[in-house]
């Protein structure tokens, strides 16, 4: 028995290391060789990627800076004399590239909220008295219509339910900042009763549901999503079960 425990810990260690090394190899610290010329009287370089880090150097008008890589809204740059530091994306926007073109960074904005196609999010809430956590991904075919697939885990007092759901989502007012939507979908649930209960078996049940909700654009590529869904679960007993669910969470669009 001890051997088994040790083996599971070992295999977990191995998996963790593999994943970490994969991440390490995915990290490519590329020198892009892209250069920009400072136009403003000066451009501040900070010691770290944040507005709190001190300014240790300023690049002057006409100086060339090499763009190395980027973290959130900060770009690591290197000047011709080898000073390396962090410049804000806003400051880089005021420079020009070797062709004399202004540098453009396309930050996602509110205008992109209804034109981007993919969205991903995580939500938490209440499913008929039990707590629910879920992930979903969606694809907008038009700005009005999308399809979504979601995975939920419901942890109740008597059972654990894992659900997979597919939804058709319609938003009638895609240009609104707080945009309501309607959803219609179907799914399948895997129900596992608590181990402290006696003589209850795992079971699978199908369900259909409808939902209403809002997508509320916050900033950048993020929006808050809140939704209410009503499920009808088909059981093999005489009566179908109904369940109400509300959730709120954070989503991103790409």
């Amino acid at each position: 028995m001890h051997y088994r425990k040790r083996r599971s810990l070992l295999s977990f260690t191995f998996l963790a290391l593999c994943l970490w090394l994969f991440g390490a190899s995915a990290f490519a610290q590329s020198l892009t060789g892209q250069k920009v010329k400072v136009l403003e009287p000066y451009l501040e370089l900070r010691t770290g990627p944040g507005e709190g880090f001190p300014v240790f150097h300023t690049a002057e008008t006409g100086e060339w800076l090499q763009l190395l890589y980027r973290k959130t809204t900060w770009v690591r740059v290197k000047d011709t004399r080898g000073h390396e530091g962090w410049a804000s994306v806003d400051a880089i926007r005021k420079t020009v590239d070797a062709n004399g073109q202004a540098v453009v960074f396309k930050e996602p904005r509110f205008e992109d909220f209804n034109s981007r196609r993919w969205e991903l999010g995580a939500l938490g809430g209440d499913f008929d008295g039990a707590s629910v956590g879920s992930f979903y991904g969606g694809y907008w075919w038009t700005e009005y219509l999308s399809t979504e697939v979601g995975l939920s885990q419901i942890l109740g007092n008597f059972s654990e339910i894992r659900m997979i759901n597919a939804d058709l989502v319609h938003q009638p007012f895609p240009t609104w900042r707080v945009s309501p939507f309607f959803a219609l979908g179907a799914g399948s649930a895997f129900i596992r009763p608590k181990s402290t209960l006696v003589d209850v078996e795992n079971r699978n049940e199908d369900s259909v549901h409808f939902g209403v909700g809002v997508r509320f654009y916050v900033s950048d590529r993020y929006f808050v999503r809140a939704e209410y869904k009503e499920y009808v679960v088909f059981t093999d007993r005489d009566q179908n079960e109904e369940a109400q669910e509300w959730k709120i969470g954070l989503s991103v669009f790409f």
Partner: protein
């Protein structure tokens, strides 16, 4: 005679520069061969290139492992091993996902009771996963000697997830704080204290278990 030498020299120089130019244009990303003859004899060795946002590497993802000890309420304080991933939304805000594994020990009742077993061996495996939000509160610098300065962050985290222990999955809330020290722009070390809370009725009446975790680990940005 002089003329002829000049011509030979010039021709060979032109040929050499042309072949150089051609190989350079073959290497260049946006070489245009039709303009070869109109190029000056001496070419600038850098072609002007526009800046493309997409070719600047972003390093907003963080992946790493954590290890340390977790106090599994009533079941000793085993070592755990975990994975941690984060996506930095802004310099202040990040979303975070964690999963980890530990082998919980025995209750004192089991140790004193002489052969009493509350849980089977495979029910003692303690597995947790969660997602949450984090906020970098106190960015700063730490100094090592007179030559080294490392960027640091003090951050708060909180989230929701699941703990699989004693044969059941339990909804688990967690909150904590961490200290991140960046050796360079892509390698960081973490020290974390985190509390996990879930309801459990394993030992008689239902209670809220509070599992405190002390973790240290490394992560990479990519």
């Amino acid at each position: 005679m002089e003329n002829r030498t000049q011509r030979i020299l010039l021709t060979s120089a032109l040929l050499a520069s042309l072949s150089l130019g051609m190989s350079a244009s073959a290497l260049a990303v946006e070489g245009d061969s039709s303009e070869n003859d109109e190029r000056p004899l001496i070419e600038p060795d850098v072609e002007p290139r526009g800046v493309k946002e997409s070719s600047i590497d972003t390093e907003n993802f963080e992946l790493g492992f954590m290890t340390g000890q977790i106090s599994v309420e009533d079941f000793e304080v085993p070592w755990f091993l975990g994975l941690r991933g984060a996506y930095h939304l802004t310099e202040y805000l990040f979303v975070e996902g964690n999963l980890g594994y530990a082998d919980a020990g025995e209750t004192s009742f089991e140790r004193l009771g002489g052969g009493v077993q509350i849980l089977e061996d495979d029910e003692r495996s303690y597995f947790y996963y969660n997602i949450g939000l984090g906020v970098n509160l106190l960015p700063g610098e730490a100094f090592f000697g007179k030559n080294y300065a490392f960027n640091t962050n003090f951050y708060l985290v909180g989230g929701m997830g699941t703990t699989e222990f004693a044969g059941d999955s339990r909804l688990t809330l967690n909150y904590g704080a961490g200290y991140q020290l960046l050796f360079n722009d892509w390698l960081a070390m973490h020290l974390q204290m985190r509390t996990y809370m879930y309801d459990i009725d394993l030992l008689g009446e239902e209670k809220t278990a509070t599992d405190i975790q002390f973790a240290t680990g490394m992560s990479m940005f990519f």
